[in-house]
């Protein structure tokens, strides 16, 4: 394998991982934008999507149908979380809201463990998505699920871009994220915007959860924790609350993680997560508002 092939391979891996982070981070940023709330339960919504697919395929539903149902289940879960847990405390102090968000996470994960046990179960990926493709005589390999992840992320982010720049609801979501009272004053129905934000963000989390599980090959009730944490980092790097920032941050983080492992000696790269978080801390010192929001401090 030549050096160039190796680099190309790592770029494919980085784009694939970055896509997943971007999908999750975008949802976190959408919700943070309208509510100024870090929705830790976002990772559990991923789990709902992935489990939905696993269970439906288990009873014989065709995979593509199961994926659509899984995304819908995640959207419904997000809707219910907003309605039941967050709306009653919308005007409460930040600390109370943050704790509620954590509590929702623990409740969903523990219910998941109660129903499904905490041991991982197989994620039923159709054979066609499990096949590997080779280029340059086997120097570069990627699986169909890798390609599907990149393609689906690309399409769904284009759709999101259209939504937030062309529709009144999408523009309204960005407006409310910038200035809530001004959004009220122009007559936006902020309550409705928040509901839409949760549904959209959760649908993206569902898709991300399904793709994450497909790459990992397993589903498990606590599977959302790691991607949530990573997406959180990605969103902060990009500028928390900014949808474009979440996207950029996701790909930067994906690339950072892959390249640390690929190009640094293993004695260093085994500290991958520590390095990533060190980069985050350094980054926040220099640019507290994130890449796309210079000079604006993040308040969680």
């Amino acid at each position: 394998m030549t050096q160039l092939d190796y680099i190309l391979q790592q770029i494919v891996n980085a784009v694939s991982l970055g896509s997943l982070y971007a999908l999750v981070a975008v949802g976190l940023s959408i919700v943070f934008g309208v509510l100024k709330l870090t929705n830790f339960a976002h990772g559990d919504v991923m789990m709902v999507g992935a489990f939905g697919v696993a269970l439906l395929v288990g009873i014989g539903v065709p995979f593509p149908v199961a994926v659509i149902c899984g995304i819908a289940a995640a959207a419904v879960a997000g809707f219910l979380i907003e309605r039941i847990a967050y709306r009653p405390i919308r005007d409460a102090p930040d600390v109370a809201r943050l704790l509620t968000s954590l509590a929702v996470t623990y409740i969903i994960e523990n219910v998941g463990i109660l129903v499904f046990t905490s041991s991982p179960r197989n994620f039923p990926l159709p054979d066609i998505l499990n096949t590997s493709w080779e280029m340059s005589n086997g120097a570069i390999t990627f699986t169909s699920i890798n390609l599907l992840t990149i393609a689906l992320t690309f399409v769904s982010l284009l759709l999101l871009g259209w939504f937030i720049t062309r529709t009144t609801t999408g523009l309204g979501m960005r407006a409310a994220a910038e200035d809530m009272s001004a959004a009220h004053l122009v007559g936006l129905n902020v309550n409705r915007l928040i509901i839409v934000a949760f549904i959209v963000a959760s649908a993206y989390a569902g898709l991300a959860g399904i793709l994450w599980a497909a790459q990992a090959g397993v589903v498990q009730p606590q599977m959302g924790f790691t991607p949530l944490l990573k997406a959180f980092v990605a969103a902060i790097i990009g500028g928390f609350g900014s949808i474009a920032g979440a996207l950029v941050g996701g790909y930067i983080l994906g690339a950072l993680e892959i390249f640390i492992v690929a190009f640094l000696p293993s004695s260093v790269s085994s500290y991958r997560d520590a390095i990533v978080f060190a980069v985050l801390i350094a980054f926040l010192l220099v640019r507290p508002g994130g890449l796309l929001q210079p000079n604006r401090e993040i308040k969680l």
Binding site: L171, E178, H184, L185, G187, L188, N189, V190
Partner: protein, 243 residues
């Protein structure tokens, strides 16, 4: 006014608290259709709070707000806009990361009459020609005066029957202030009803038919602009001196 027109907005004994502080201690005022009414007074007199409460951003603790015969105190801000009250807020409060065109579009977000919205944006470009040149630009990159024009245009895009204006001259270069107030005078000629909060008392009284002078959350004085212009008591209320 020569012919008495119907009362469009009537505020009766309005009380608003901010925590333990009583910001408004029973304010009453009327705005007739087609009239321009100014609220003047020193900082902290309760002018902005009055406008915020009419728009539904603050909840009244007591008293009534009646618009076009319907009580609107405490209902959702978006419904108040739908009923026909739009506000150009203090500090402009534009969506700086959105384009001028998108800010205008959101100004019309409560409306369903698409063709009339297009006609109204043409009217805005007649009133504020600079906005037409800036359509694709982010609102945050406009100058203070341009931002103020956009804030006015955004409020007007709701096709309001009552326009609330909070400090339209604040942070605007003097030359543009004159431009903005001539646009407001043009709106007045077209019959727009306005309730204006303005620090610059000369500008306010020149534009308005009548004015209320607020002091520490109460109406200290009210009357026709021409009468108030020469009144010593206006200056006293402004300075917060005891009468």
């Amino acid at each position: 006014m020569a012919t008495p027109s119907p009362v469009l907005l009537s505020v009766e004994n309005l009380e608003v608290n901010f925590g333990a502080v009583r910001a408004l201690k029973g304010i009453s005022l009327d705005v007739h259709a087609g009239e321009v009414v100014a609220l003047v007074g020193a900082n902290g007199a309760g002018k902005s709070t009055t406008l915020r409460t009419i728009s539904g951003l603050s909840r009244p603790r007591g008293g009534k707000i009646i618009f076009d015969g319907k009580p609107i105190g405490g209902i959702a801000p978006s419904r108040i806009v739908s009923l026909g009250i739009a506000q150009s807020p203090e500090g402009r409060r534009l969506f700086g990361g959105l384009t001028v065109a998108d800010n205008l579009r959101l100004g019309a977000c409560t409306r369903t009459d698409k063709e009339a919205v297009v006609r109204d944006s043409e009217r805005m470009f007649m009133l504020f020609p600079i906005l037409k040149q800036r359509l694709k630009q982010l609102a945050g990159t406009l100058s203070g005066g341009e931002q103020q024009q956009l804030a006015l245009a955004r409020a007007l895009m709701a096709a309001p029957r009552l326009l609330l204006l909070d400090e339209p001259s604040l942070g605007v270069a003097p030359l543009l202030v004159r431009h903005i107030f001539s646009a407001l005078a043009e709106l007045k000629r077209q019959g727009m009803t306005m309730l204006l909060v303005e620090q610059n008392i000369t500008l306010a009284l020149d534009l308005a038919d009548r004015a209320y002078v607020l002091r520490t959350g109460q109406v200290a004085l009210s009357g026709r602009s021409a009468e108030l212009r020469d009144s010593e008591r206006v200056a006293q209320a402004y300075l917060g001196a005891a009468t």
